[in-house]
């Protein structure tokens, strides 16, 4: 074996940890807009217009690179932010480096100068939700209506109580009360534009939700939060029992299919003869 595979392997490891060349604006769009606007008002996180005038660059860079660490060391300003966000901690951003954080701050400075930033946020209609919106949102959640950009249905990883007989997925959180958790339509809508948790981010980076999908979904979540719904922990048990029962049936079927399988000749012969002799 020559050294080529080892070399390749080293390259791969380096590539894995190295930041990929990316435009700051793209990066912001993919990672930040679910919680932040520039001049569009607060979402889950604060409006970032003129953020560099509110705190020192050094502090901001440190916070961007590792929010949890700044909060943990008891920084008062970070505590205040946490309170304003109702305890939602800014998630760590994958691929974040010092250079990238600086580029982001530069971008924010530039965008703050503009009369209308490109990151002003989703302009979702304020009209009241109709039952049609809720039904459409439900279909999107279940996957009956496929997402325009090919993303997986919400049901894959999330459940909303009483949405389907065996419930939804459990990889992500239960979304029954997500409307309340994220404080309403504006925040939830913004979150759905560019979901920021690592799994959601990976999944929806290539398959962003469309505005005309977000509105019904928010309507559906609003409705779900209002309905509450029964505890559906039985769904998981039912699923497991169905699996067990099916397996038992399959074993019975195997026994039937191979019922004429070879068992024993000599031992059967001898035991039979002994029985007759007795």
């Amino acid at each position: 074996m020559n050294c080529k595979p080892l070399f390749l392997f080293a390259c791969v490891v380096l590539a894995a940890s190295a930041a990929r060349g990316q435009d700051a604006a793209d990066f912001f769009r993919q990672n930040c807009v679910s919680c932040h606007t520039v001049g569009g008002g607060r979402l889950t996180g604060p409006d970032l217009k003129n953020v560099t005038q509110r705190q020192s660059r050094e502090w901001l860079i440190e916070f961007i690179m590792n929010p949890q660490a700044v909060i943990n060391r008891g920084d008062p300003y970070a505590q205040k932010l946490l309170q304003e966000a109702r305890g939602v901690v800014m998630p760590p951003i994958s691929g974040m480096t010092r250079e990238r954080a600086e580029a982001l701050l530069a971008l924010l400075d530039a965008e703050s100068q503009l009369p209308k930033s490109q990151f002003v946020g989703l302009q979702m209609s304020d009209r009241p939700f109709t039952p049609n919106d809720v039904a459409l949102g439900r279909a999107i959640f279940l996957g009956e209506r496929p997402l325009a950009n090919g993303g997986p249905a919400c049901l894959s990883c999330h459940t909303v109580k009483a949405v389907a007989p065996l419930g939804g997925g459990r990889l992500g959180p239960d979304l029954t009360r997500v409307y309340e958790r994220l404080q309403g339509r504006k925040n939830l809508g913004a979150w759905l534009v560019a979901p920021a948790t690592p799994v959601m981010a990976t999944t929806f980076k290539q398959h962003a939700l469309q505005p005309e999908e977000i509105l019904p979904l928010v309507a559906f979540f609003e409705d779900a939060a209002r309905q509450g719904g029964q505890d559906d922990s039985a769904a998981r048990l039912n699923f497991f029992l169905l699996g067990l029962g099916g397996a038992a049936l399959a074993l019975v079927a195997m026994d039937a299919v191979w019922r004429r399988r070879f068992r024993s000749v000599r031992r059967a012969l001898v035991e039979n003869a002994r029985r007759l002799a007795r």
């Binding site: 004429r260 000749v265 000599r266 001898v270």
Partner: protein, 496 residues
């Protein structure tokens, strides 16, 4: 016509004394390794008897061999589709329990036992687990009817015998049995080869010996179930199948296989025959009663100029054609028609033939007086203590005519020799018997010579194998110098 050469065999059952020398010769050469202790590539069974493995002839249980359905030849145990679904657990494969668990004795105990009031004994220990075992069975557990009544009365060949015939067979004062030595039949239509999912089993084109390519065998076990004679064995240690190789290394050196060489009763004959490979499938599909004749028709006359021409065209060496002309097997099977294939109804077309036993009946018996002469000359064959039906189940697919023919001819030969040497029988009677048995004094003399006075060279006419013409011989041996050597040189160690 597609002429091929096949090393074929004849066992003369009237001469077998059941000494198991053949089995021991084979065992000591080939199957004394770990994993093969239980295998007996050559074994000698007592008939009637259940055999080894127990009741191997009961294909309702073992599902070996071929059957004809919708005009097609099919394996009973497997098919292309079944192979896929049965590969995890073969539903027709016997276990070691149906053979026997090999054992040795704790001899060390004889030396190491502490002093005590009793004589120490060497108790049996399993050769697999090394633990003490209760011996329940062995390779010839029912030798000389030793396992009766459980074993002998469960001989599958008793099917179709009347209760009176069965009672007669086992009446103590008339008890009768004969020996049935068995090796791989190196069939023309081998079920094991056709069943092997890996293509590891093959028939050698030049001499028809059926072998397992140990490097290609993956232990899918289909051959074990498919072989109706249960002469495929699973090596539980290496996870590979093994079988009788007809001592091909000895044959290639011009020597008879070990079991043939060592045979005390000189019952074994070996020689090549030329046969028509293009008609194998056609013959294997014939109805039961036509199979014996059908297989005979596959074997070609090596003196026929057209056969010789076709053989040469197929690359068969003149020296091989010459040994086919001298083959004792050709005479027994094709010319004299007194050697018959075992269980031809399995449709594998076995190339080991048996001369059915007259023994021990040579005279008839009435009112407790043994009569040497009877007016009804073939009477005692019909009234033999071994019912004709029993022999027919073994050697005639259940049909008696071919067995009767072979026995009548043998009987006539004996009467002819009696008239010639002792003289207490009329020669005219003997000659009438020969005529009625479809024979002649010349043929009787030839049968007598090859049966009784045969030399080593007459019994074993081994065709030259011409390995010097094999493609391997075209390779430069120097290419392998300082390399790994030729072929498969590593010890066959079990995989991880």
């Amino acid at each position: 016509m597609n002429v091929r050469s096949q090393v074929a065999m004849v066992f003369h059952l009237d001469k077998c004394i059941g000494c198991h020398t053949c089995s021991i010769a084979c065992k000591n050469i080939w199957t004394d390794r770990k994993g093969t202790e239980y295998m007996w590539w050559n074994n000698v069974e007592t008939k009637p008897g259940a055999g080894f493995p127990t009741q191997w002839e009961n294909q309702d249980k073992y599902n070996g061999g071929w059957e004809v359905g919708n005009g097609k030849l099919k394996l009973k145990s497997t098919s292309k589709e079944k192979t896929v679904f049965n590969i995890f657990h073969n539903p027709h494969m016997p276990t070691m329990d149906d053979y026997y668990e090999p054992w040795t004795y704790d001899y060390q105990h004889l030396f190491n036992a502490p002093e005590g009031p009793d004589q120490p004994t060497a108790r049996p220990i399993s050769m697999i687990t090394g633990e003490l075992i209760q011996i329940e069975s062995g390779p010839n557990w029912d030798d000389d009817l030793g396992g009766s009544p459980i074993y002998a009365q469960n001989d599958p060949n008793l099917k179709g015998l009347t209760p009176e015939q069965q009672a007669q067979l086992f009446a103590v004062e008339r008890l009768v049995f004969f020996y049935f030595p068995r090796i791989c039949n190196h069939c023309l239509n081998p079920a094991c080869v056709a069943a092997c999912p890996s293509g590891a089993l093959y028939k050698r084109g030049e001499d028809g010996i059926v072998l397992v390519d140990q490097n290609r065998c993956r232990g899918w076990r289909a051959c074990i179930a498919a072989c109706p004679y249960k002469k495929m064995f699973y090596n539980w240690n290496t996870g590979k199948s093994e079988k009788c190789i007809l001592c091909f290394p000895r044959l290639e050196a011009g020597q008879a296989p070990a079991c043939f060489h060592s045979c005390v009763g000189r019952i074994r004959y070996l020689g090549n025959v030329l046969y028509d490979a293009s008609r194998i499938e056609e013959v294997a599909k014939l109805p039961d009663e036509e199979l014996v004749e059908g297989q005979r028709s596959l074997i070609l006359d090596p003196h026929d100029p057209e056969v010789i021409h076709e053989a040469r065209r197929n690359g068969i060496h003149d020296s091989v054609i010459e040994t086919a002309q001298r083959s004792p097997v050709y005479k027994f099977v094709k010319v004299w028609k007194i050697a018959l294939p075992p269980h031809i109804e399995y449709r594998t077309l076995p190339m080991l033939f048996y001369v059915p036993p007259m023994a021990p009946v040579m005279a008839n018996r009435s009112d407790d007086v043994v009569n040497g002469v009877s007016d009804d000359l073939f009477h005692d064959i019909e009234q033999s203590r071994v019912p004709m039906k029993f022999l027919a189940n073994l050697f005639g697919a259940g049909h008696e005519s071919k067995v009767r023919y072979a026995l009548r001819k043998q009987k006539a030969v004996r009467w002819y020799r009696r008239a010639l040497t002792v003289g207490d029988v009329e020669m005219s009677t003997a000659e009438r018997m020969l005529r009625e048995a479809d024979s002649s004094p010349e043929e009787a003399e030839a049968i007598y010579r090859l049966t009784s006075l045969c030399t080593f060279e007459e019994r074993f006419v081994i065709p030259p194998m011409h390995r010097e013409e094999a493609i391997q011989m075209l390779e430069d041996p120097l290419e392998h110098k300082q390399s790994v050597g030729f072929g498969f040189m590593m010890a066959p160690r079990r995989g991880m």
